[in-house]
Amino acid sequence: MGLLLKQIFNFLKILNSDTGTNQIAAGIAAGFILGMTPALSLQSLIIFLCLFIFRIQVGAALLATGFFAVFAYVFDPVFDKVGQSVLEMASLQSLFTTLYNMPIIPFTRFNNSVVMGAGVVGFALAPFVFFAGKYLVQKYRKSVVERFKNTKLWKAVKATSFYKWYVKYDELYG
């Protein structure tokens, strides 16, 4: 739980800094795919592995997963329809039969209409979510963070010795 909270605090910190736009956007995109996937499956584990290997903002991914999971719950019937149409495509039947009989692959639960539909929609929209996320982060920094930094309250806070102590502490142990 502590690790989870730390990731979310890191996300808030990086969100309000000048760096890591791509990391946050990638985190949101990864969270989008995770949130769309209905249950723990092989593709979810692969995304988790990507979060571990690549420099993707984990806090952003976790928050996005929670948000998109609620969103996906409502859209389950749509995913079901999409999944059914994909799984029933005549041209893909031999491919699905091969995959169905392969080891490991069935752990993706690709033969379930909701998993397939959510997967197709999730992976297809992930690039758009990435760019939309990047744009929104930049917009947020420009319109909210910059404006807040120019307020008298923030300047007063920055002038306090407590803030300076915090900055030093963050440099050393953050």
Binding site: D80, T97, N111, V115
Partner: protein, 650 residues
């Protein structure tokens, strides 16, 4: 101060942009991998061994030990060495000991998260081997065996058909002479019938009062008289038609009131008759209570019933059921872990009535299976082989075990176990067993057959009472068994023969000893045929033994007369105590019944008669009124006719 701070900030080196890969995660990854590897190499086998020992011991009810387990995930194999299963009845020895079990898992199945054992080897089987230290026996109330206890208790309940364990001792007591009267005097036993009769008397007394109150409230003679006088007061004057009509209406009302009273009395009479009959039924049970008291006293005084058919059951059923009951739990467990396919109705019944909508349910597509499909667990084939070693407990055993699986339908073959061989050290020779468990479809069917050519048995103590010590020694038997279980109905027959047995019979009373010795000498070879059949939850046992029959017929002459005499004494004792009470109760009941009959039914009859009389009188009045009116009309019409004739001068 401000300038220096600004200078410090300007001197800060710009942070180097980090690449897209978390290289700092390499060390934690390596660390985690090493830790998992170390656990799997050094600790996993030990933990697995402890886990199997813990679960196995609790299921079996006595300590199970495993010397060593070694697993290899890369090779997909497992080896279990030195399995020792403690004998629950003799913790210093093992019921079964297996030297080694090896099996290899199919990688293709492992990649599908299925555990398929293509070939297993079971070696070094020994029975009754001595343990280094006595094994732990788990108590019945051990909390860690809560679930398995439920199954065991259910299995033991099946054999709750218990018989007198000391039948021979009791027969010897009776044969030596028994005087129930002296024992009864000492006992001053409470008789259930006596208490129940007193309770019933009190109950009748209370009811009698309540019934009397109800009878008193019923409409009595005064009511009838009042109605009668009201009726008589009516004049039915036909000269006054208006008054005549009113009197008729009043008479109708009186008759209706009488009807109402009759109804009240009828309802009460029915209710009281019902209650009296209920008491009568209870009274009819008095004889049963008395018989029950006699049977209880017979048990308490250890006066046996000499039923030749039941004697074999009494002698051997407990022995057989105690041997079989512990294994019944494995049938229950086999059904749970090797389940047959559920039918559609059962599936629907299992489904919860209301559940929140879950994600990811959708529709699951099944594509043609072109590769091998596996159940979750499948032991395809196992070879059992064991060689006896000099002075050891191992046996010369060979056999096969095949197709034990969690999904028999998918495997499409029944699970089988074939085993044959000898245990020379234990003198168990010619062991053959064949088990087929077919859970592929409903109803499930399992068959069991086998035989043992020769096996020794410990001396059989049939009686160890102060009046008789009866022991059968030199028991070397041969056995054959066959049975089947279809769904939850089973039918198993076991035939045991013990040749050249010896008897050790001792009694303080030499005459009694002579009776038993004479009966037993006619049975140099004991045969024991046992059968069990019926539903798993209520099995019916049949046991027949020539020893039981011979003892029964041998003892019948000498003992039956004494048993009958003792029973008569008991009956006389019980009837002597409760006979008068029973008669008094019967008299009380008869008196009450006649009272009800006289008072309620008499009243009802009287009122009905009164009503009939009133109705007859009313009919008569109506008719006489009608006739008078008719006569008047006729006279008037005659007069008019005469007047008319006169006017017309006819």
């Amino acid at each position: 101060m401000t300038n220096s701070t600004d200078n410090n900030q300007s001197q800060e080196k710009p942070k180097k942009a980090k690449g897209p890969i978390r290289f700092e995660a390499i060390i934690p990854t390596i660390l985690i991998t090493v830790l998992v590897g170390a656990y799997m190499t050094y600790f996993f086998d030990a933990n697995l061994r402890s886990g199997i020992e813990w679960v196995g011991s609790r299921v079996h009810g006595a300590e199970i030990n495993i010397a060593n387990i070694s697993t290899s995930f890369i090779n997909g194999n497992m080896q279990i060495d030195g399995i020792q299963i403690t004998d629950k009845t003799k913790p210093e020895q093992n019921m079964l000991q297996i030297g080694q079990i090896r099996f290899g898992l199919v990688w293709d199945a492992l990649l599908r998260a299925k555990f398929v054992v293509s070939d297993a080897a079971i070696e070094g089987i020994a029975i009754h081997a001595k343990r280094k230290r006595p094994g732990q026996i788990f108590k019945k109330d051990d909390p860690s065996r809560k679930e398995i206890n439920k199954i065991e208790t259910a299995a033991l309940d099946i054999t709750k058909e218990k018989y007198n364990k000391n039948i021979l001792g009791d027969l010897a007591t009776v044969a030596g002479g028994v005087d129930p009267n002296s024992q009864l005097k000492e006992m001053q036993a409470d008789l259930g019938a006596e208490k129940k009769i007193n309770d019933l008397k009190l109950d009748i007394k209370n009811k009698e009062n309540a019934w009397k109150e109800r009878i008193a409230q019923l409409p009595g003679q005064d009511k009838f008289k009042a109605l009668e006088s009201q009726f008589k007061a009516l004049k039915f004057d036909s000269n006054n038609p208006q008054q005549f009509l009113k009197d008729i209406q009043e008479a109708d009302r009186i008759i209706k009131e009488a009807d109402q009273h009759i109804k009240t009395i009828t309802t009460t009479a029915n209710e009281l008759n019902g209650e009296v009959n209920a008491v009568g039924k209870e009274l009819g049970q008095v004889d049963q209570w008395i018989q029950q008291d006699i049977a209880d006293l017979q048990n308490r005084l250890n006066i046996p019933s000499l039923n030749v058919g039941d004697l074999s059951k009494s002698l051997f059923l407990n022995l057989i059921s105690e041997k079989i009951a512990p294994y019944q739990k494995y049938i229950v467990l086999a059904k749970e872990y090797m389940p047959p396919p559920k039918d559609k109705n059962a599936k629907a019944a299992d489904a919860p009535m209301v559940t929140p909508r879950q994600r990811g349910q959708g529709r699951t597509y099944r594509f043609p299976v072109t590769a091998t499909s596996y159940p979750l667990f499948w032991l395809q084939k196992g070879t059992i082989s064991s060689k006896s070693n000099e002075g050891g407990f191992s046996g010369d055993i060979s056999g096969t075990i095949a197709n034990f699986t969690t999904n028999p339908r998918r495997v499409g073959k029944p699970a089988t176990l074939e085993i044959s061989g000898d245990f020379p050290h234990q003198q168990v020779m010619g062991l053959k067993a064949n088990v087929v468990i077919d859970n592929r479809q409903q109803p499930t069917k399992s068959t069991l057959s086998g035989s043992v050519a020769s096996f020794p048995m410990e001396p059989l103590v049939l009686s160890d009472s102060k009046d008789l010590k009866f022991k059968v020694t030199n028991l070397v038997g041969r056995s054959s068994f066959a049975g089947q279980m279809v769904d939850d109905r089973m039918a198993v027959n076991i035939k045991n023969i013990y040749d050249q047995v010896k008897y050790d019979i001792q009694s303080n009373n030499k005459d009694v000893e002579q009776i038993f010795v004479a009966a037993a000498n006619g049975v140099p070879r004991i045969t024991l045929d046992a059968g069990v059949k019926g539903k798993f939850s209520s099995l019916a046992w049949s046991v027949d033994s020539n020893l039981g029959r011979e003892l029964g017929s041998g003892l019948k002459k000498q003992v039956q007369e004494k048993i009958d005499q003792a029973k008569k004494q008991l009956e006389a004792y019980v009837y002597g105590r409760v006979g008068k009470e029973k008669q008094a109760l019967q008299a009380q009941y008869n008196q009450l019944q006649s009272q009800i009959n006289n008072q309620v039914n008499g009243k009802k009859q009287q009122l009905e008669n009164e009503k009939k009389q009133l109705m007859a009188q009313l009919d008569q009045k109506k008719k006489s009124g009608e006739n008078q009116q008719k006569q008047k009309v006729e006279e008037k019409s005659k007069k008019l006719m005469n007047d008319l004739k006169k006017k017309l001068k006819f």
